[in-house]
Structure formats: C-alpha cells, structure tokens
Assembly symmetry: C2
Homo-oligomer: 337 residues x 2
C-alpha cells in the first residue's frame, strides 16, 4: 500500500472560495451580506477529485492520500479567531465529505482555527471535533499565523503547549505548514513554505520540547525545507551547542516528507535522513504542476524518484510508502494488515 | 590559487564589540558616554587573525579570503541610519587594517549602513568609500534590515535600485546576507540565514531585476539556502509561471557559495548547479566550529568535500576555487596570472 501523507484539496469547487470571499467582505464591511451556508453537491465534489487526485493516484499507482484543506487557503492572518473557526469548520467539513465519498482514497487531516496573537489553545475544540467526530488523523499546524511577519512565539514556547497536550492525548501528529504569505518578501510556495520548514526545524533543535512531550510528532513537509541539504551544518551546530546528536534529540519526533521534486534531492534526503523518518508524499495537486522536460514526467511524481534510488531496499521503500505513515498517523487503520 | 569568497572577521578584538555596546547604550540613554575612538593596536589585529584565519588557511591550503565584518554583528535593526553608518565605518576600517597588514591573505568586502525603513540609497557613500578608497571588492547586502520581521520591500523593488545602480557603476557584486535575528522565531545562523537565502532566490525568480541590471551580480551564501535541494521545485515553478529556464533567467547574475558542511550537500550542489555558478567558500571562522565525528575533520573544511566529488574535473575545480571568484569579484587583481 502506498500512502501519500501530504495532499491538499486544491481543486475544491469554487463555491468554497466564494464563501471565503464573502466571509471576509462581510467582516470588513458589515453591510455586505454574511456568507450563505455552503451549497455544494456530491456530484461537484466527485468531479473535483475524479479528474485530478483520483486520476493521478491511479496513474502513479498510489493508494491513499492523507488529505487536508488547501494550505495556502487557510490564511490565518485574515480575519480573526471567529472567522478562522468558521472557515476551518467549512474546509474540514469539505474534507470529511470527500473522505466519506472515497474512503479508500482519502483520509482527513484538519485545518486549525489559528489567528495571530490568539493562543493556540483556541484550536482544541476544532481539533477534537475533527478527530473524534470526523475520523481525522491529525492537523496542519501553522508556525506563523501572521502570514510572513513571524509575530507569534516560536513553536517551543509554552504558548503552544495546551494544543500539544491535546494532540498527545488524541494521539495525532501535526504537519508543520504555513499558509499564504501576506508579506511581499515571501513568495508563498517558493519562498515562505521552504523557509518556514527550515526555521521550525531550528526552533526544535534549540529547544527541549520533546522532553516535555516525548510522544508528540511533527512532520516537516517539502523534504524538511533546507534541512537535509544542510544536515552537516545542523549536526555541527547541535554539537557546538552541546546538544545530543540530532538522531537522539529530534528523530523520535520529527519526520520529513518526500515533496522534493527532482531525483538528486530525493537521493540526498534518503542519504542523510534515516529511512525511518521519511514519509512518502507528493503534495499533488500542488505547487508544481508541470512536466519536467529533463525527464518527461511530472515534477511532483515523487514516487518515481524514490523508486529510482539505487540504495533503498524493498523494506526501506515499504517504510517510506506505508510503514512510517502508520507509525506517525497512529489512528490510521484503513487497509492495515 | 584558492580563494575563499566568504569569511567574516568573527575574531576581531573585543574592543570592537565594546565600541558597539557603548554606541547603543549612548543612543538609548544620552547620559551614557558616546563611544571613544577605537584604540586597537596592530599587534592585537595580528594576534586576532594569526591564531585563527591565517592558521586555518595554511592548514587547509587556501590562499586568499574575501573578508568582511562579522555578519551577525551588522545588526542593522539596532539603532538608526546614523548609528549604522558609524558602525559600518568602524567595522570596514578594521577590515581594511587586516587587509593592509596581510594583503596576500585578505581582501575586503564591506558592511553597509542599512537601517530598516531607510532607503538603501543611503549606503552609496560608504560603498563608494570602501571600494574607491579602501580597495574593497564588493558588499554584503542585507535583504531584511529589520532582523527577522521582513518589513522592508523585497529585493526586486525599486527601493533598492539606486544602490544597484552604484554597484553596477563600481562593478562590485553583493553577497546577500542577513544579520542577527531579533525575532525569537529565527535562530540567527541555523534558521534565519538559510531561510533568507531561500527567500531571496525566490524573489529573484519572480522578478525581472536582471533585465533592468544585466550586469548586477549576487552571491547567495550557504550554498543558496534550500535552493539546490529544491532545484526541481524551482525549475518547475519557473516553468509553470512561463518564466524562462532558470539558467537563462538567473544564472548570469546569481552565484552560490560552498558553505555546505557535509559531502552529500556539496555533491548535490555540484550536481544540480552549473559549475560556473559555484564559488568556493567556508565561512571560516563561522557558524560551525567543531569536528565532524563521522569524518574526523572540521565541518567547515569545505575544500575536502569539493576535492572528494568524483565527477569534478581539474578545470571544474579551478573554476570553483578561483576562476568564478575572479569573474564575480572583477576588481580582484591579486595573484592574477
């Protein structure tokens, strides 16, 4: 079985975006109408995934996508905590509908109602609803709800602890994932995503978060940002700071996905990061949609790269494709042996 | 000849830091004394580099370091434009003294008097002084003078253009280098530096800056942040945006250094980035000072990694070690054939 741990509902019917636009327009100017309840049919949902995610799953031979709302759509910097909650509920309910209609192909991960300056404890209700009522496996956690100004405390701060406590209690991991940038310095998918992945890894390296939460699990997407490329730097910095080796310090809790869109990158990832810490992912349909003229295949067809790494054994590939996802997303029971 | 294009004066006599501390204390509270003129002897300077940079150059068989003030010490977020100018002049004068005492071993690159919210045009005077009077080869340009809040315009904005015009006129490149982070989210050398490198590359990818300045040259340090690891992502994004291929779009103007502290990282760098765009560097004495227990050598002894890459020819190595530096830092005449 091949589990893609990182897929967003980037192809949702446009009514969802209209809902959001109305919501923000109403917030800005109360004389604008509040958004009407979403009216999206099963047929629309079917069409929105059949031509894209389902078709691509079949073409590439992958089975199950751990599926969450569009990451850039979360836009926690827009509106306030109430807006974020309404929006998160709407998006998570859409994911739930997709997963209910196609239970063999999708399983949910939720968006949280974060808002800059608002304690993450405010997310506990929606996280609990999604896990306990909707059967979701985890959440996407935004380390910078400000959208590129980094004004909230770092992820090792007690600010985040109540949410972590709930995650541990529910036995759900978080994928660390920023949303759209509202800072012109950061291109969302090309600059901000990758910079944030790297930034958070270093927050974890310098903290004792996992002493306080030994079973808390984070997936750092996009191959861990710059981290594998600079693995020597991070090993060296940890050593200079008299921290334990990275494996001991972080690798019981931190995992990397395979959203790295060329073979040399995947080779590096699988060379320096232990195979037990790598989860298959493609972020399909996501940031890069074209075909690589150098290979004739889609850039984001990451399975091809993993299949091409000569030093991975079949057992290694089973871990990357399935075993590690089951270890991290422990609530995942679908298709279990 | 082996030219290290990225060395900072991290071992300067402590009087320099005291000067800075006094300067900021006086700014905060004018009843504190203004800093006295720096009183550092030639012997102090000699001692500060003989035990460190000069010794390490000899041990590693490198010849010339393109030398600039300590990057994290620039701290453009502290004080104001006047403070930044006074501090930049003090630091640049120290570099000049080192280069004058050891002209075969060091050649200067300057710190600029940037300050958040202040147009970069204010740096033209100090840049000109350093290049024309002190014989410096270029500058370090901070893409985020706010120290981690990214409140100034991106590097493709006209905000920066007057400085670029002067750089082009003087025929000097910039190394894009942030300074200390005052944002608790960003660890300076582990998070912020690498995230900034990545962020700026994407700013360049989405802009037409080099149409406006076809001869402007930037070096992105630390191997380009995450860029080589995500080279497929960047190639794919450029293609999706209908931009020209990266080689055509950026690689006449953008160069990467080799401050990547393990062999797999250097292998990736030299596999995906054309050899013509790679400049040797170690950032010695810098962010990582220890010995890698996996190799028995210093993490930042990057020459060993380059020497170990099997597919580089002697001609390739000559480019990385010397030829490309001469192409980018065109004012460099020392030791020219």
């Amino acid at each position: 079985m091949i589990i893609d741990c990182h897929g967003h509902y980037t192809t949702a019917p446009r009514e969802l975006d209209l809902f959001r636009a109305q919501q923000l327009a109403h917030l800005k100017n109360h004389s604008e109408p509040a958004p009407a309840a979403l009216n999206i049919s099963d047929d629309q949902i079917r069409e929105s995934v059949e031509k894209f995610q389902l078709k691509i799953q079949r073409e590439r031979g992958t089975d199950l996508t751990i599926f969450s709302p569009r990451a850039s759509g979360m836009a926690h910097h827009a509106g306030n905590a109430a807006t974020s909650l309404e929006w998160a509920r709407a998006c998570n309910d859409m994911i739930h509908r997709v997963c209910t209609m196609f239970p063999k192909n999708f399983i949910g991960v939720c968006q949280l109602p974060q808002s800059p300056g608002v304690p993450p404890a405010n997310c506990i209700g929606e996280l609990t609803r999604c896990v306990e009522e909707l059967g979701f496996l985890g959440c996407n956690l935004n380390p910078d709800p400000s959208g590129g100004y980094w004004t909230d405390p770092p992820m090792f701060d007690q600010w985040w602890y109540p949410l972590y406590e709930k995650m541990v209690e529910l036995e759900v991991p978080a994928m660390i994932h920023v949303s759209a940038s509202c800072n012109p310095n950061f291109h969302t998918t090309g600059g901000y995503y990758i910079a944030a992945d790297t930034t958070v890894f270093m927050q974890l390296l310098t903290s004792d978060l996992f002493k306080d939460f030994p079973t808390l699990k984070f997936v750092i997407p996009h191959g861990g940002g710059a981290v594998p490329f600079h693995w020597g730097r991070y090993r060296g910095m940890a050593q200079d700071m008299k921290r334990p080796p990275l494996k001991e310090l972080l690798l019981n809790n931190v995992y990397f996905d395979t959203c790295v869109y060329h073979l040399p990158g995947i080779e590096l990832l699988t060379k320096v990061i232990p195979v037990d810490n790598i989860l298959f992912a493609s972020e399909m349909v996501g940031a890069v949609r074209g075909i690589d003229p150098e290979t004739g295949n889609h850039f984001d067809d990451t399975k091809r790269y993993i299949d091409a790494v000569s030093w991975l054994s079949d057992a290694d590939r089973r871990k990357i494709y399935e075993g590690n996802a089951r270890k991290v997303y422990t609530r995942l029971k679908v298709g279990a042996a």
